[in-house]
């Protein structure tokens, strides 16, 4: 049992998402940083889809009744275990009666805590991910609160050695981001000049950046006055409403909306959207689909290599 002493700013239970129900308007939800969550589950000896905690801006304080293998990945929230600082992107053993405390974020924005076996909550429509807007998944469909008690689950692989890995696997978070996009499906609604403006300007992440949407401040894009019929919109879509400020669609966003989509963030860059802070700068850089797929394959191959190095006990 893990007791929540302090929940942190916006802490939810998430897994790899509630796929399969978008036809009925159910957003996918799930962890916003796919890379950090994959690595955290590896380090904690978990199956890929084990549920973990996602913390935003400021993490929580947790009391552990029993000893358990745990791992932290993603943003650095200056975690301490019984008062001693512990490293990010590493596995560690929490002793029985231990207190794991997170503070304010100092690098990146979202941090992930995985425990061996994952967190046991009821699966709703195939996922344990919290979707706060509909009050489903996670713990009663809501943010964690002080006093909540979390049970450990059974999503563990064979018990693994506690090993770290080379720093080259650890992404660097900055305040100035280059994010690759593929133009389309509705880029044709924008003039060439507007497309150029979008790709050559610096956008600032607004204060409205949550699990639904990441709003941007920067040059306004003009759209011809057309009433667009609602269509499907996915994670990473760059939508442009009538007022012309583009925003980025996140996994708790509605599944269909009537906004023009000038482009999509590539899959290999989705993790950046989890780690940008309000006020950070973003430059969007166009690449073609083939290159995007190559980057994604490389990322997945790296993950596989890491997974294999863990199961053989060879430092990677």
């Amino acid at each position: 049992m893990i007791v929540v002493i302090r929940p942190g700013n916006f802490t939810t239970i998430q897994d790899s998402g509630r796929w399969g129900y978008q036809t009925w308007g159910m957003p996918i939800s799930g962890c916003l940083d796919p890379y950090a969550t994959q690595v955290a589950n590896l380090l904690a000896g978990n199956k890929k889809n084990a549920a973990m905690l996602e913390m935003t801006d400021e993490g929580g304080v947790f009391h552990f009744d029993d000893s358990v293998l745990a791992a932290i990945a993603g943003a650095d929230m200056q975690a301490t275990l019984n008062g001693r600082q512990i490293e990010n992107w590493k596995a560690f053993i929490v002793p029985a009666g231990g207190t794991l405390a997170f503070g304010k974020v100092v690098s990146g924005r979202r941090s992930y805590l995985a425990v061996h076996g994952g967190f046991e909550v009821m699966s709703v429509m195939g996922s344990r991910s919290t979707y706060v807007a509909a009050g489903i998944g996670g713990l009663e469909g809501r943010l964690l609160m002080a006093g909540d008690m979390l049970e450990l689950g059974k999503d563990a692989e064979a018990y693994l050695r506690t090993i770290g890995f080379s720093v080259r696997w650890i992404p660097k978070y900055s305040h100035s981001w280059k994010i690759n996009v593929i133009l389309g499906p509705q880029e044709y609604l924008f003039s060439t000049a507007n497309q150029k403006k979008f790709l050559s300007s610096t956008y600032k992440v607004s204060s409205i950046a949550d699990r639904m949407v990441c709003e941007l401040e920067g040059p306004v894009l003009t759209l011809p006055p057309t009433e667009l019929v609602s269509d499907a919109t996915g994670w990473g879509a760059l939508e442009v409403p009538a007022r012309g400020q583009p925003f980025i669609v996140m996994p708790d966003h509605g599944t269909t909306r009537g906004f023009a989509k000038i482009g999509y963030v590539i899959q290999a860059n989705l993790y950046k959207l989890a780690q940008v802070m309000p006020g950070d700068n973003i430059n969007f850089v166009e690449i073609d689909t083939e290159t995007a797929v190559d980057l994604y394959k490389l990322q997945q191959a790296n993950y596989q290599a890491l997974a294999e190095s863990f199961s053989t006990g060879q430092m990677c």
């Binding site: 796929w19 399969g20 129900y21 978008q22 036809t23 009925w24 308007g25 159910m26 957003p27 709703v124 429509m125 807007a133 509909a134 009050g135 489903i136 593929i182 389309g184 499906p185 509705q186 009433e227 019929v229 609602s230 269509d231 499907a232 996915g234 990473g236 879509a237 509605g254 599944t255 269909t256 909306r257 989509k261 482009g263 999509y264 963030v265 590539i266 899959q267 290999a268 689909t289 995007a292 797929v293 994604y296 394959k297 997945q300």
Partner: protein, 239 residues
């Protein structure tokens, strides 16, 4: 011949490196809706492992796929194959859901505004809304929210977005009508509320409606609204 034309006219557009959109038109129309449904049916029958999810909307179909299992080029040729094999979707699969709605007082905050915009009397408006079943073109926005289109009139949205529209609220915007399913922000004109839970994650079937179904609105008064709401909360009510 008609099918072949549909296939030839469909446009394929990328949505990032893990999505492909198949576009059949740009207007809300029953004919386009049929093509969308037929294509979804045809693609589902092919049982392509690499397809993570198929999401239809008014005029297009989004295909989310796993690029580790299929290349964009391979997927495109599978889509063309599916387009060649469109066949009518059996109408027997669609159902009519009777949706009781109270169109009065605090449950209908924008009723007066809609009557002003349309120049209709309340009776005229309700006659149009309840005279025949409405086709559900798609469910989306929030879980289970049914989009019904092609009203014979059109109204603009509320200028200011409401922060929290209660579930069950019946809204109209443009020539569409829909039912809010969870507390959500919105700009649609709210003209009534149903006690039915169109979406309930705790139910065996969380969604009462799916694309292709029909909704028949029925007028109830505020007393009936609260009586039904109690029955539904106590799980006595059968739709």
């Amino acid at each position: 011949m008609l099918m072949k034309n549909a296939a030839a006219r469909a446009k394929l557009q990328p949505a990032g490196d893990g999505g492909l959109v198949v576009v059949f038109g740009d207007k809300i129309a029953p004919g386009v809706h049929e093509q969308v449904q037929e294509f979804v049916n045809s693609l589902q029958k092919m049982q392509i492992n690499a397809v993570r999810e198929i999401v239809p909307s008014y005029c297009s179909v989004m295909i989310y796929y796993d690029v580790l299992q299929v290349s964009g080029k391979e997927l495109r040729s599978l889509v063309l194959e599916a387009l060649e094999k469109l066949e009518p979707v059996s109408a027997s699969l669609s159902k009519i859901l009777h949706v009781p709605v109270c169109y009065d007082g605090v449950l209908a905050p924008d009723m007066d505004c809609v009557l002003r915009m349309t120049g209709m009397t309340k009776k005229e408006l309700l006659d149009i809304l309840t005279s025949k079943p409405h086709l559900v073109y798609l469910t989306g926005f929030t879980p289970g929210f049914p989009y019904m289109g092609n009203l014979p009139f059109s109204v603009s949205r509320q200028a200011l977005s409401r922060r929290a529209i209660p579930p069950g609220s019946v809204g109209i915007a443009g020539n569409q009508t829909g039912i809010y399913t969870v507390v959500s922000p919105g700009e649609w004109n709210i003209i009534g509320r149903t006690p039915l839970k169109i979406f309930d994650a705790g139910r065996d079937n969380p969604f009462l409606l799916t694309a292709g179904d029909y909704v028949q609105f029925e007028i109830i008064d505020i007393g009936q609204y609260f009586a039904l709401k109690r029955q539904i909360e106590n799980k006595y009510y059968q739709t």
